[in-house]
């Protein structure tokens, strides 16, 4: 199971902060596609991704037990 953590407005879109996804050996890009499909989450193309609190690319491969956080970049000031 992959533990997915949703930040900021993504948390509201999903209605909760965390969700568990079946998906050993999935890439971050595949996980994003799945999250978009399953939960109609918008804007995942531009979010920053952390895997186990370490910055990760779209092609990072996920393993069972990983925690993935999706963090929308912020531009205001």
């Amino acid at each position: 199971m992959i533990n997915v953590l949703l930040f900021a407005q993504l948390k509201d879109e999903l209605g909760k902060e965390t969700v568990s996804i079946e998906g050993n050996e999935m890439s971050v890009a595949q996980l994003k596609a799945k999250m978009k499909m399953d939960f109609q989450l918008e804007g995942l193309e531009t979010v920053m991704t952390a895997v186990n609190e370490e910055f990760a690319d779209d092609d990072t491969i996920l393993s069972d037990g990983d925690t993935v956080a999706f963090i929308p970049p912020v531009s205001g000031g």
């Binding site: 953590l5 930040f7 900021a8 407005q9 948390k11 902060e17 918008e42 804007g43 531009t46 920053m48 952390a50 609190e53 370490e54 910055f55 990760a56 956080a69 963090i71 929308p72 970049p73 912020v74 531009s75 205001g76 000031g77």
Partner: protein, 339 residues
């Protein structure tokens, strides 16, 4: 050491030696809005040697809810923010040399200001300008501190050229259609929280305590009670065009700049993004509608109106700002909607 800084020098990582360093440093602060005014106040109180503040805007009523220092009188006088900030800072600490520059920052005019600058503090409200800062930071080898906030959310990161990844390593392209303070609103604690991190990082850099500089991106949401740090051990990209081996500093070139032009004979400015976008007009319409704009749209363009100002945005990101001939104002209005 002076009585004024006694509580700061008592803090061991600063000490008398650190205070002397702070008092010799020059910080350039880009932006004098929410993040900018609070950062300016913090560094001036801390006794930085010289502070250069660059901003293109003036103080308005809707700023007062979250922008430190500014008063109702500044609004009445329609003071430019950089100038209003300078006046307040002088009353707070006359020993700090404050340099107020009222201008729309570009790669060209910014570079000229960076000669003896030790640190760049980001208090802008758009990624285009941040990418310019990022390239200049790498080119001139000056650390910078990214900071941003919207709603109850914020983010900050310290970038040390030659050492940490840069913002371009983390963002392949400039994110578009993010929430801005004009569409998502903002509460002051989100500002304050970013500034707390930026000021702490700035002090570490000014006293040259490099080991204490935070090696991670900070992201938080004060309303939803979230706080996350993301380590960047593996984020530096060898082929990054801003900090990699074959660097070209792409954001310093004219092609990568938002263009503005006054339309001949009309009270309208055209704004064109560096590259054509693919906007989701329906989503944008929803955001703007929730933000008090009167919105109409079709598959090709969106028209929105608020406070007598009308903006038409095409699907490729080109926009017409009606009711103005001021290119700086038009670009600001554009970026306040698209980030």
């Amino acid at each position: 050491m002076k009585e004024r800084y006694s509580r700061q020098t008592l803090f061991a990582p600063v000490g008398d030696g650190g205070q002397l360093k702070i008092m010799k440093k020059h910080v350039l602060l880009l932006g004098a809005g929410a993040l900018g005014s609070a950062n300016a106040e913090a560094l001036t109180r801390a006794g930085v040697g010289k502070l250069t503040i660059v901003d293109r805007d003036y103080v308005e009523t809707s700023n007062l809810q979250r922008q430190q220092m500014y008063t109702e009188r500044d609004v009445a006088e329609k003071l430019p923010k950089a100038e209003a900030a300078k006046r307040h800072l002088l009353g707070i600490n006359h020993e700090v040399e404050v340099n107020a520059i009222i201008m729309d920052a570009t790669a060209q005019n910014l570079e000229q200001l960076l000669g003896d600058v030790d640190l760049i503090l980001d208090a802008t409200d758009n990624f285009e300008t941040r990418m310019i800062i990022n390239d200049l930071s790498q080119k001139l080898h000056i650390p910078w501190i990214y900071g941003a906030c919207v709603g109850s959310v914020g983010m900050t990161l310290t970038i040390l050229p030659g050492q940490t990844p840069c913002l371009h390593c983390l963002l392949k392209a400039i994110p578009i259609q993010g929430m801005t303070c004009d569409t998502g609103g903002i509460i002051s604690p989100a500002v304050t929280m970013v500034v707390a991190h930026q000021t702490a990082e700035a002090l570490k850099i000014l006293v040259e305590d490099w080991e204490s500089v935070r090696p991670a991106l900070v992201s938080f949401d004060l309303w939803r009670n979230q706080y996350q740090t993301v380590k960047l051990t593996k984020a530096k990209k060898k082929d990054c065009l801003s900090c990699g081996e074959q660097r070209t500093y792409p954001f310093l070139t004219v092609e990568n700049v938002t263009k503005t032009a006054v339309l001949c004979g009309r009270d309208t400015v055209q704004v064109r993004p560096p590259k054509p976008l693919e906007l989701q007009l329906e989503k944008l319409a929803k955001d703007l509608d929730g933000s008090g704009y009167l919105v109409k749209f079709n598959p090709f363009l969106l028209s929105c109106e608020k406070a007598g100002e009308r903006i038409v945005i095409f699907k490729d990101g080109r926009a017409l700002i009606h009711g103005t001939k001021d290119m700086v104002h038009a670009k600001a209005a554009y970026q306040s909607i698209l980030g």
